[in-house]
Symmetry: D2
Amino acid sequence: MTKVKFAVAGLGRIGKIHLENLLQMDQVEVVAVMDPMEECREYARERKIPHIVNTYDELLVVAPFDSVVICSPTDTHADYVEMAAKAGIHVFCEKPLDLSMQRVVEVLKVVKETNIKLMLGFNRRFDKEFRKVHDLVKQGAVGQPHLVKITSRDPGAPPVSYIKQSGGLFLDMTIHDFDMARFVVGKEIEEVYAKGAVLVDPAIGEAGDIDTAVVTLTYTDGTMAVIDNSREAAYGYDQRIEVFGSKGMAQADNNYEDSHRLYTGKGIQGSLPLHFFLERYAAAYKSEMASYVTSLKNGDTMEVDGTDGLRSLQIGLAAIKSLREKRPVKIEEIGN
Amino acid sequence: MTKVKFAVAGLGRIGKIHLENLLQMDQVEVVAVMDPMEECREYARERKIPHIVNTYDELLVVAPFDSVVICSPTDTHADYVEMAAKAGIHVFCEKPLDLSMQRVVEVLKVVKETNIKLMLGFNRRFDKEFRKVHDLVKQGAVGQPHLVKITSRDPGAPPVSYIKQSGGLFLDMTIHDFDMARFVVGKEIEEVYAKGAVLVDPAIGEAGDIDTAVVTLTYTDGTMAVIDNSREAAYGYDQRIEVFGSKGMAQADNNYEDSHRLYTGKGIQGSLPLHFFLERYAAAYKSEMASYVTSLKNGDTMEVDGTDGLRSLQIGLAAIKSLREKRPVKIEEIGN
Amino acid sequence: MTKVKFAVAGLGRIGKIHLENLLQMDQVEVVAVMDPMEECREYARERKIPHIVNTYDELLVVAPFDSVVICSPTDTHADYVEMAAKAGIHVFCEKPLDLSMQRVVEVLKVVKETNIKLMLGFNRRFDKEFRKVHDLVKQGAVGQPHLVKITSRDPGAPPVSYIKQSGGLFLDMTIHDFDMARFVVGKEIEEVYAKGAVLVDPAIGEAGDIDTAVVTLTYTDGTMAVIDNSREAAYGYDQRIEVFGSKGMAQADNNYEDSHRLYTGKGIQGSLPLHFFLERYAAAYKSEMASYVTSLKNGDTMEVDGTDGLRSLQIGLAAIKSLREKRPVKIEEIGN
Amino acid sequence: MTKVKFAVAGLGRIGKIHLENLLQMDQVEVVAVMDPMEECREYARERKIPHIVNTYDELLVVAPFDSVVICSPTDTHADYVEMAAKAGIHVFCEKPLDLSMQRVVEVLKVVKETNIKLMLGFNRRFDKEFRKVHDLVKQGAVGQPHLVKITSRDPGAPPVSYIKQSGGLFLDMTIHDFDMARFVVGKEIEEVYAKGAVLVDPAIGEAGDIDTAVVTLTYTDGTMAVIDNSREAAYGYDQRIEVFGSKGMAQADNNYEDSHRLYTGKGIQGSLPLHFFLERYAAAYKSEMASYVTSLKNGDTMEVDGTDGLRSLQIGLAAIKSLREKRPVKIEEIGN
């Protein structure tokens, strides 16, 4: 069995997760990693990665490999994907490709011309809970879907410095929910109405963003989805979904630290949801990378592709416009 | 102990419930009932109600009583309340008082001038589930409320003939949720954005109404509520609430037929929610009437008063306007 | 429609419940009640019961009636049933008929000879949770039943004075579980092994009883049931059941004060089970009496009859013997 | 950092799990494995284990190592532990050490004399669910423990050939529950009463074993535990625990495939428990080995030691004696 040769660009929190998962796959060989920080390179050295470099330019020439996993900062994604594509290297890229529609369109053009495979890191599609609901919907278990409800709340707000460059709530956080809204019922969004508020931290408001939101999405068939977000849930990471349809409803709950129940004279107590995405989605990251590697090996269509990145960005930009203009915004207003 | 003398106007489904509950109260004596239909009067005869008449005019003079419970059709509510008020009789009236803001304002003026007590039948406020969440919020258990989520779905659509005269989804069904949104956090609504669709029955659309909706409410303090409705949930009556705040979240679930779980090789099965409002809110109707009677006897402020009816109607009318004009509508646009 | 004429003997806690339920039935007329205590007779007077007397002898002659409901102290049950039977009056009697096997056999002989109907008050058979599991088992949903598990814990121990005359844990509390073990799978018990301890209150031990127990029952087909009891559960009344069989398992949970969940940084909290039997079994008492009245009117076999009382007593006596002799005891050792 | 050098003896199902977990630990180096089967040695070759041999004799001399993980058949455990001990090698051994009390006592004597560390593979102690209940009990959350309830059912019976050499239900399956009964409340068992039946497969009965059991354990302080077992639960692996005490109750539920709920007109459905021990205890096996390695490195007392193996065996043998002699059996009757 020939192993697929991989490089990893960026060994931050997510990069390390992808690297560990790749190292456990029989059909994969990680030949090189790149990170500008010494401590990340040291991390790679302990794992005996053959080639360890400081820059993406070096990475592309240090050794031959079939695929690169891009986990560097968002503003490098577009360039790195293009560079890999032009070198004939397949790409797994963390979302988003870019915050500009125009730039994303350009990159996808290069991807298409170079005929490389591109997969976007919408990890939640590989979470067993969301996937189960998706599968039930696909099997017709709820009939025709009428309403999708997504609750998505983080345990705490990121630093304001991060928010300033991330594109804000709708582009760094809700974008996952926009993708989920499309994925879970396999339908496209036509219109967005976003309402938001600054309730968690005034500094977020001063930075021009919101921290709490309710977003109503309308699919092209007139059915609806509603997403509610908060940057700070006191009880931890809250990630639930519900699809209501003509024949019933499918729900998925959070994953909890454990299932215990303690009954005392004061009431019944249980454990909290898994604290944040690293805990909740640990298995999803593994499945995601396995899906990518399998698709690569079999020459299959990627489960999440560049268009999925484009669509989520469109919805996010429409949400921002809706919030600013206090009106529902059609996706077509965002352009393509 | 002097008993409070009651009359009941209208012995339809709800009228019968209120009558039964009144008959079981030690401090109440039901002296008269009125219904234009013979079978309803026969129902009263079996219960040995002293005076049984055909019309509201007759009712008001057949015997002296302290309070009337109005369960007749919606279009009679305003007149009947006014007539009772002018006769110095206290009133428990099923919601809504009227579908016209102007008429409601007129009636409330008469109520005020005559100094009678008026309670509106927003029964869900007396449901133990909703009340528990309300109490937790009031005690500060979730901190400052940021988001309210209400799911409210009926097991099946009413006849189109009913919808044509009821004012439609927002005035006959969501109006309960509008009241709940105000009640559960004790805050007023400032703005409404309503999105709807006809997904259950095209005849409802032909009658000018919708059967599925997502409504975003903004409170005067900038926090939000979102309501989702459907006229037809295949699995029965779905009535849930969630309040998310700075310190946590409080939820209430449906009430189920029973708690059984059946584990077989095919999965785990359980029973459905109680089928509809008569089952789910049986105890709430009892508590509601007990609250009314107690407030009457003690001369207390009513737990739900005319203003609560007025506010819910305003929100409903704003929702209709929002749906038609495809934009968020301020409550102040509806007038008072 | 001719109404069935009823008398109620004994207006303690349970007597009052039965009286209220009877008063709400259209097909029933309560013509007389008896209680030696003035305050109980006053309670009856407020409900306008036509005949109110002090003694059972008076009751039997004060007015003609079809059926008596016996809720007087346990040591009067046998005599009262016999007296009613000899007067041709049908009987609903609270359990147990008597603590002596011999006396129970005598009474059942009289019941048979006089051809009256007798129903025993094993109210839990009418609880919707237990009945659901019973029905699922009967329908074959779990296949052949292999194991029955019953958890039955009270919120607090009764006074030691009560325990001294009640026959102790196995005869005043577990006897309900013995009946349930027979009912839920429709099989008879052949052998009992009881293990117990005094863990709640030493005074209970000094009175010769235990307050905590694990009882293993073997059915005549070799399958098993296990019951665990405690006189004092800090969190309230704990009444659960589980039937495991060749094709699956059916469980029923407690009924809770409400379904709320409160999520905070400290964990998730919910409400306790309904506190005690009056709350948990309120609906079951109503269904039980309805069943009795319906069986009476239709001349049907009683859902719970004298033999059910006899069998539970046998099991209870076998449990006491097992505990004392520290060995499994066959039901046949108890005699009949 | 010096790595701890490991060997693994036996690469069956459990051996492979331990090997994989060891390979992922930074502080561990697996230097050798032994298995008599070629396919297992091939498995090791793919993982690039330096030394791969056919026999335990060869293993002990092929290279120096600090610890051996013994996952070979039960009848080799005692000899292998002794041989390792005499070679000054620490041991992690799958349970049971042996089916004979005398042989276990001999082995533990050697372990003591040679002063090596020995840990027994009671993996469930490292399951997050059981551990949480253990921790809550230890913290006093339920007060004084009065009753322990353990449900332990396998998804299907092993081959009768396995049962013939395993020691039967109580020694190959319930032995985990006996250990759990001791662990969860930190108390020793004094008496056992076992009742069993052949309900799953007559061939198991013909082999002299049972497939369904209820076992009542009495702790030295007079409190009780009850275990129920079945070789075949149609719905999969059922592993639950409950500790009831003076101040409350702590429970842990199964782990489920996912949390979804599907509501349709027919009822509510959910996913089954994780199918068997490999799925349910995957994380527990990892934690178990981490605990062993950490204790080794730090020179700490092992979390599960030889005495724990001895005690569980005693209880198992007492259960067998109780079943045969149809009476409660004191642990002291088994000897030491």
